[in-house]
Amino acid sequence: MAIDRRLLLNIDWLLLGTSLTLACIGLALIASATRTRQEPPSVQVVANAPDAATAERATAAQARRTPQWVKQAGWMALGCIAFLVVIAIDYRRLADRAPLLYVAAATMLAGLLLFGHSIAGTRRWLTLGSLQLQPSEPAKLIAALVVARAFAESRKDSLDLRDLIGPGVATAVLALLIALEPDLGTAFCLVPMFFAAAFLGGLRPRALVVLALVLVLGAGGLGWAFAKGYQRRRVVSHVAPYINPDGWLGRQLARYVHIEPRASDHRGAGYQSRQSRIAVGSGGFLGRGYGQGGQSQLGYLPARHTDFIFSVLAEETGFVGVSLTLALYLTLFWRMFETARRARDRLGALLVAGLASMLTFQVIYNIAMVAGLVPVKGLPLPLLSYGGSSTLSAFMAIGLILNVRMRRFAN
C-alpha cells in the first residue's frame, strides 16, 4: 500500500511540525520531572535485599533501568510508525470497516473488565509481553470513526434528536465500558467528540440545546453515580471547599451522598490541586529554570511526569514557556479545525472535527486542572504527558486528521 507521492505533498507540515515540537517539549519535561527520584529505589532494594550479592545485583539492575524519557522516545517512535500506517489507509476505507473495528473495541473493553488484571484498583491495561496498553485509547478513535460515519451517512440536511439515537447508543456503550474500568476522564472525552460531530452533522439548534442539557445533566449524574468515594470527595472539595469534611455538613454528606468522610491520603483531597497551583504560580514570568522546579523536583507535585506534566512546564519555564506551549497547541487546534473545514466530504469533516474536539477538550481540561480551575481527573495531556497508549493514540489521531487533509483533492 504505497502512498501516492502527490498525497505526501498535501501533508500539512505545520500541523505535523507543531505536533512533533510539542512531543519533543514533552520529552524534555519528562526527563526533567523524572531526573530526581524521591527515594532512590536502589537504596530501597538494597536495604531489603537478603544478602550482599543480591543487593549488588539489584543495584546493577537499578543502574540499567531505562530512564522514562528514553521509554517515551521509544513510544514516540512507535507512534510515528502508527502514524504512517494510519495516513496510508484512506479514511473512507477505514470508515467502511468501522463496524468491525467497533465490535473489536467493545469486545476488548468488555474482556478487560471480565478478565483483566487489576492494577492499582483499576482494569485499564492490557498486558502484551512487556508492553502495557490501554484499549480505551484506540477505542476513542474508533468511536470517532463510527460517529462520523453514522452522521455522514444520514443525508438529511438537518438532524433531529431521533437521528442521534443510533450513534448515541454506540458511543454510550463504549463510554460506559471505559467508565467502568474506571476511567472517567477518558470516558468523558467521548462527549465533546459526539457533540462536535452531531453539531457539524447538522443538528438543529433547538435539539442542540436539549442535547446539551441532557448531556450535562446526564453525564454529571452518571459520573456521580459511578464515582468512587474519593472522586466524589475531590469534586466536593473543589466546588465547595468551605465544607469541612469533619463538620456536621461534611458528615451528613458522607452519610447520604456517600462521600468519603476523610481523605485516605493524609494530606487531604485538595492536595494535588493545591500543590499544582503552587508549582504553576511559583514559576513566575521566566520560570525557575529547567530541572530547577522545587515543586517538581522535590516530589510535592503528584503525577508530575504524567497528568501534571504541564505544572512542571509552568514551574520550570514560567509564563514564557506556558505562552509558547499554549500558542503551539492553539496552532495545532486551529489547523485541525481548518482541516475539518476543508475536508472534501461530510465523513472527513465530521471525523476531523470529532477527533479535534476530543483532543482539544483533553488539552484544555488538563491545563485547567493544572491551574486548579476544575476537579482533578486522571486525564493525560496529549503529546506532553508520559504514557505509551496516550502517545500512540495522539499520533494516530493526528494521522487520521492528516489523512483527511491530504486526500481533500483526490477522488
Partner: protein, 601 residues
C-alpha cells in the same frame, strides 16, 4: 440522494468550534498570567514554605570554671532523636517502631508529642540517646525517614548534686519566659537556664544560635543545605567558687539538711554555697520526666529551694549582733556596760526568760554575746526601741536582698511599727520589741544576709555585695567593693571581741574552735514553733526542733572568710551548727596553709 454532498453547513459550524477554542485558549492564557505573573510572589512564598525549613543550630552554652580553673559545668556531645509528627504518614506505626527500637513505652512517646508547644514543632523522642539507639535508627533510615538525629551539646555537671543550687540547671523555655522581655528572640523549645547561675547569666551563656536553611522534599527528608549561619558559643564563666571548699562544705553537713555559705569578707566573692537536700542538675539536662519533676516539687524537704538565699529563717540569737551594734552606736551601752541577768525579767507586765534559768548575774557585753544572754539584750533592746533596732538591722543589709548574682533572692523581714500598721493594721506593742531583741517574733533573715553581716563585722564595717562571677568570656566583671555602713571602729571592735569570746572563751560556739586560727562566731537557734509547744512535745518530734545557726568569720585579724551555717532542726546552734563550721574551716585553713599565695589572690 445527492451526488455531491453539501458540506457548507458543516464548514460554517466548524468556525464556531474554532473560535470557541480560541476563546478557551485565551482564557487559559489570562489565568496563567494571573497565577504566574500577578500572583507569582505569593505562590513563590507558598513553595518556599513547602520546601524550605529553618533548622536551628544550637549554640553550646558557655562552660563554668571554678576559682582555680576546674570545670564545674561543661557540655558533652550527645545525640537527640527528633520527630515531626506531621511528616509521618502513619504515626502509629512510626511510634510502635520507635518504641521497639529505643525501648521506651509508646505512651511515653505520645506524651512527649502531646506536650510540645505548637504543631509542626520537632518532638524530642529521646534525648541523650545511646550510640546503640542512634545506630539502630540510622540502620532503619528508610523505614523512618522522618526521624532526625541531631548532635546536641548536653549540659553536664561533674560535681553532681554538689553546688547544684549555685550552678543551677537548664530546662526547656517555659510559656511565661517566652512572653517575657528577657528571653526575646529565644525560640520555643530552646534550652535555657532555669535556676542558679544558669538562669541569672542565661543571656550570656546561651551564645547565639545558628541556623541552617535546608531544602526538604515532600516526605520531609532534607535534600540539601542552602545556607548556614554558624552558632556562636556562649562565653565561659569564671566563678569565685572553689570546688575543693565546696566539696568540704558538702561533706561538713554529712547527711543533715540545711545550708551554708562562705565568702571573702574583703570582696564579697562567694567561695562555697551549699543547700541541702540537693538535686542532680544532670537530670534536667535531657528534659526531666514530668513525674520526676512533680516528685521534686512536692518533696516536703524542698530540694529545689536554694536555702541560702530563699530560706527565710528567724535569726534567733544571731540578732544579738545587731542589737549590740545598735546599742553601742546609740550610746545605750559601752563595751564595759554590765547588766544584771536574774534568769528572767518582767517587762511590760510579761515575764521573759533567759535560757539559763539561774541567770548570768552581772554580765558584760562580751560575756553576754559569748554566753548568748537573753536578759542582757532584752534590756538593751527595750532601751533602743524598735525603730532604732530596725534601722541598724537595715543598715547591716537585713530586710533587703543582698544583690547576689543568683536569681530569686528573698529579702527576709525586719518588722517595725510602720510595717505592722500597713500589713496587719495593728499598732506595734512595746512587748514585741523584747522578742525582736533576741531575734524572735516576725524577724526573718536569709543565711546569705547573715554571712554578709559577719563579713561586715569582720572587715571593719563594710557591707559586701556577694557575687559568684569573676569574669565572662575572660573579661573581668567589675564588682563594687564592700561599702562602709558608717559604724564606729570601737563598736566593731567590741562586737568582734564578743564573737571571738563565743568561740574561744567558754562561749556557746566553742565547738568551732581551731587552734592557731582565731575563729569568731555567733550561735543561734531559730524557733520553728513556740517554746511552749516544743516543751509539750518533749522534743520527740524532730520537725519541731529549732534550726541551729552559726555565723562568723576567721581569722579575727585580717579575716579571709566569713560564713553562715544553718542546720535545720539541729536544736542548739553551738551543738549542731558550730561543728559543721569547724569542719569546713579546718579544710579552709589546711588548703590555705598549703597554698598561701593562691589564696591571697
Amino acid at each position: 440522494m445527492r451526488i455531491y454532498e453539501d458540506i457548507r453547513l458543516a464548514q460554517a459550524r466548524v468556525a464556531v468550534l474554532q473560535y470557541a477554542v480560541v476563546v478557551a485558549c485565551a482564557s487559559l492564557f489570562v489565568v496563567f498570567w494571573y497565577l504566574q505573573v500577578l500572583r507569582g510572589h505569593h505562590y513563590r512564598e507558598l513553595a518556599d514554605n513547602n520546601q524550605v525549613r529553618q533548622v536551628p543550630i544550637q549554640a553550646p552554652r558557655g562552660p563554668m570554671l571554678d576559682h582555680s580553673g576546674a570545670i564545674l559545668v561543661e557540655n558533652q556531645a550527645s545525640f537527640s532523636l527528633l520527630l515531626r509528627p506531621e511528616d509521618c504518614p502513619n504515626l502509629d506505626a512510626t511510634i510502635a517502631t520507635l518504641s521497639r527500637l529505643l525501648r521506651i513505652s509508646e505512651s511515653q512517646i505520645r506524651e512527649r508529642i502531646a506536650r510540645r508547644g505548637a504543631p509542626f514543632q520537632l518532638v524530642v523522642v529521646k534525648a541523650n540517646a545511646s550510640p546503640q539507639d542512634v545506630a539502630s535508627v540510622v540502620a532503619r533510615r528508610l523505614e523512618l525517614p522522618q526521624l532526625e538525629v541531631n548532635p546536641v551539646p548536653l549540659r553536664s555537671y561533674p560535681l553532681g548534686t554538689a553546688a547544684a543550687h549555685a550552678l543551677g540547671r537548664v530546662g526547656e523555655i517555659t510559656e511565661r519566659q517566652l512572653g517575657s522581655e528577657e528571653y526575646a528572640g529565644v525560640r520555643s523549645g530552646a534550652l535555657v537556664g532555669q535556676a542558679g547561675l544558669e538562669a541569672s547569666y542565661n543571656r550570656f551563656l546561651m551564645g547565639h544560635e545558628g541556623v541552617r536553611r535546608v531544602i526538604v522534599n515532600s516526605r520531609g527528608v532534607e535534600v540539601r543545605e542552602e545556607k548556614r549561619d554558624a552558632a556562636v558559643d556562649g562565653p565561659q564563666l569564671d566563678l569565685t567558687l572553689d570546688a575543693a571548699l565546696q566539696q568540704a562544705m558538702e561533706q561538713a553537713f554529712a547527711r543533715r539538711a540545711g545550708c551554708g555559705v562562705a565568702l571573702d569578707p574583703r570582696t564579697g566573692a562567694v567561695l562555697a554555697l551549699v543547700s541541702r537536700p540537693s538535686f542532680d542538675p544532670n537530670d534536667f539536662s535531657t528534659g526531666i520526666e514530668p513525674t520526676r519533676w512533680a516528685r521534686l516539687m512536692a518533696d516536703p524537704d524542698t530540694p529545689l529551694i536554694n536555702r541560702v538565699i530563699q530560706g527565710q529563717y528567724s535569726p534567733g540569737s544571731l540578732f544579738k549582733i545587731i542589737v549590740a551594734t545598735a546599742g553601742l552606736e546609740e550610746g545605750i551601752i559601752t563595751p564595759e556596760t554590765t547588766l544584771h541577768c536574774g534568769g528572767q525579767i518582767t517587762l511590760y507586765g510579761n515575764v521573759f526568760h533567759c535560757h539559763r534559768a539561774q541567770g548570768h548575774g552581772a554580765i558584760s557585753l562580751r560575756r553576754a554575746l559569748a554566753e548568748s544572754c537573753n536578759v542582757y539584750f532584752f534590756q538593751v533592746g527595750v532601751k533602743l526601741a524598735i525603730g532604732r533596732i530596725a534601722r541598724y538591722a537595715q543598715k547591716l543589709g537585713l530586710g533587703t536582698p543582698t544583690g547576689f548574682d543568683l536569681p530569686h533572692e528573698m529579702s527576709g523581714l525586719i518588722p517595725d511599727p510602720e510595717w505592722k500598721q500597713r500589713v496587719q493594721g495593728k499598732p506595734w506593742y512595746a512587748g514585741e520589741t523584747v522578742s525582736v531583741a533576741i531575734g524572735q517574733g516576725q524577724v526573718t533573715v536569709t543565711p546569705l544576709q547573715m554571712a554578709c553581716v559577719a563579713a561586715c563585722v569582720a572587715n571593719g564595717g563594710r557591707l559586701p555585695k556577694p557575687y559568684f562571677v569573676r569574669a565572662i568570656g575572660g573579661v573581668p566583671q567589675p564588682h563594687a567593693a564592700p561599702q562602709s555602713v558608717g559604724l564606729k571602729p570601737e563598736t566593731l571592735a567590741a562586737v568582734r571581741d564578743g564573737m571571738w569570746a563565743v568561740v574561744n572563751e567558754h562561749g556557746s560556739g566553742w565547738r568551732a574552735q581551731i587552734a592557731g586560727h582565731d575563729v569568731c562566731g555567733k550561735t543561734g537557734s531559730a524557733q520553728v514553733v513556740s517554746h511552749e509547744r516544743l516543751v509539750r512535745s518533749g522534743g520527740a518530734n524532730e520537725q519541731l526542733l529549732p534550726h541551729a545557726w552559726f555565723i562568723g568569720f576567721a581569722p579575727r585579724d585580717n579575716p579571709r572568710v566569713a560564713f553562715a551555717f544553718l542546720v535545720e532542726h539541729g536544736a542548739a546552734g553551738g551543738e549542731a551548727a558550730a561543728p559543721v563550721a569547724q569542719a569546713f574551716l579546718q579544710r579552709f585553713f589546711s588548703a590555705d596553709d598549703a597554698a598561701p599565695v593562691a589564696r591571697a589572690n
